[in-house]
Symmetry: none
Subunit: 199 residues, 4 copies
DNA sequence: TATGAATGAGCCTTCATTCAT
DNA sequence: CATGAATGAAGGCTCATTCAT
């Protein structure tokens, strides 16, 4: 087998791991299957990551990085909270349906990570939430802090849940339609809040 | 080890499997760990279920049965769609936070089942959705069929997502608060729809 | 492969381990080589001994038991210390040259045991020494306790050293001749002591 | 890591190997551990010695060279055989207790060498014996050649055996006392022989 | 029938070694 | 020349399963 530099191997192995994990779960993804999928020698996996655990953590980190958390804020203009959140949700789900394998792997690794070290997954969720809040700080929010956090978590749960449903049925159109519905729920809620705030 | 009739053993093993799976995942739940947890001989597992696969399917079926899908409809009275759905969602989440182990196991087994046989999990979701629609047929619905199905799926996704979050942080209060927020979203949406329908 | 009861398997594996260890050392004796030598499935090794370590400890115990430590004391008659010790030494060495493989294995395992747990090997030597002293209590000893202990240890060291030499050259005759010489040293020493004691 | 000339590296690696082998045995002394102990790059080990085998042989040769075989003969004076041999034995054991690590390594490598190539160790013992005989040629010997060779081998065996015991208990004082006892045995034997020769 | 005992297949990891500079 | 990087082969162990009663 041709010698391949470690940096390249790391990427190949992570990508291979993502595919195998999506297919077989984190525990089912044996080092051999991953190495084969990457067309890499088994030993290179341990050369690059020391052990399976580290590889999974790398996969977790990689996928966390890739997840689109932010909305495209039209600069300068004043935008409503509903618009921003809906757009975030929509973008996340669009990414999900286009990256079924990665989302599936993400879920499997997240569950694995929780088992492996409960702190880890919490950290990820927090990062996610922080990122969302950063976005919100840029718009006028008609709600007290505590309430807005709750809404953010509900939106996140909708992303998780809709993604989960998408794996099960694999129906892209339906998932996007349901995403639109979810946005409607969100906007209706915020519109009502704004109306209340005005009074 | 005392001889125990197969029927009893089946229950013990399923219950043990639920606990072990919640702790270690479906793949991490070895036959030995399950047998030990059930204080049953290892061989009895294969005697009762032939193989691990069948046991996991039995766990899946068992947990599917237990999930509370229906709302308590106040008989005779006319109730709004929003009320019914919100109550369903709330009940589901209350059950979730009170049955963390079972929900966790459910998620792990569902992911395993999808890998094992994609049809299976679909069937489960469908059953869930059908059951929900049966409830809805009992109330006035201000939405076309297609739209109402979409809302049902969004609600289901919120249950899944909120449960997922609950495992991660284990914060019961927060989860119930977020559940209430989710209900608000849902109700605001349906109120709006009703207002539109009136016009 | 035919099912074989664990008790039988244990013996087969220990015997096989002795041979492989004699040939390849304790570290070189891989679980696979031992299993093959015993014509046993690899898994049976772990079924019977849990892990390699335990097997080696069992080999150590087994060989310790087999070593002939005692002299054939002619009952009733008064025998000289020199006679008893010389006979012990001779018997030990006769056993050694007839059981080259076992002695070789014993040495390898003893070195391994010292690395694995220093206490172990000490215990073995102590047992050896105790056993020797028990024999000595049966005869008249013309030496103070401390001195007799030292002689015992020197005799033990001759056994070890002569055995070591035997492995290297494999010359049975020479080893037995050297053993006789060693006995002469021992007896000459004790004769001198007795003469001194008489005065 | 700084570039170091091969000659220096060889020494560093041999010294490191001695320490690691004493600690972990010849098989347990992995190339990596040795390289680390020498603070040398792993590849330099193979650059200097081609393979692990050669390094072990080098260690064996090195340690063989170091072993003190000769007695300090008081020039000009006539010295007894007993004195010479006892002094050799004593010096060897003094060196042993002061160089526990090297002796331990020596034993481990010798056993390894015997496994690797039985001729090797024989050669070493022969060299040892030859060297001893050279010393003996300088004094009056009251014994036939064959018998004196046997005594030499017994003395060598006592060195080996006492060293072995010393590793096990690590009791320096006791080892030296036992060495003195061994000398007494030897001297008593030779005195007797001399007396016989006189008659 | 229900169970203790035993095994084939496969897992993660580590080793000595080789490659490429 | 001397070294960092990479790999083929093997090692200890565990798993689901089957056997024998």
């Amino acid at each position: 087998m041709a010698y391949v530099p470690a940096a390249t191997r790391r990427e190949q192995l992570i990508e291979a791991a993502v595919r195998v994990i999506a297919r077989e779960g984190a525990d089912g993804a044996t080092t051999r299957k991953i190495a084969d999928e990457a067309k890499a020698p088994l030993a290179s996996l341990h050369y690059c990551f020391q052990n399976k655990e580290n590889l999974l953590l790398a996969v977790f980190a990689q996928l966390s990085d890739e997840m689109p958390l932010d909305a495209d804020l039209p600069d300068g203009e004043s935008t409503s909270l509903g618009y921003v959140m809906a757009q975030s949700l929509t973008r996340a789900m669009q990414w999900s349906v286009e990256n079924a394998v990665r989302i599936r792997a993400m879920i499997e690794v997240t569950l694995w990570a929780e088992r492996y070290d409960p702190e880890l997954a919490v950290g990820f969720y927090d990062g996610f939430a922080k990122s969302a809040e950063a976005v919100l700080r840029q718009v006028d929010v008609p709600l007290p802090d505590e309430e807005i956090h709750s809404v953010v978590r509900v939106v996140m749960s909708m992303v998780d849940g809709l993604s989960l449903q998408f794996f099960t049925d694999g129906d892209k159109k339906r998932t996007l339609r349901d995403t639109a519905t979810a946005c409607e729920l969100l906007k209706a809620f915020l519109r009502e809040k704004e109306r209340e705030a005005v009074q």
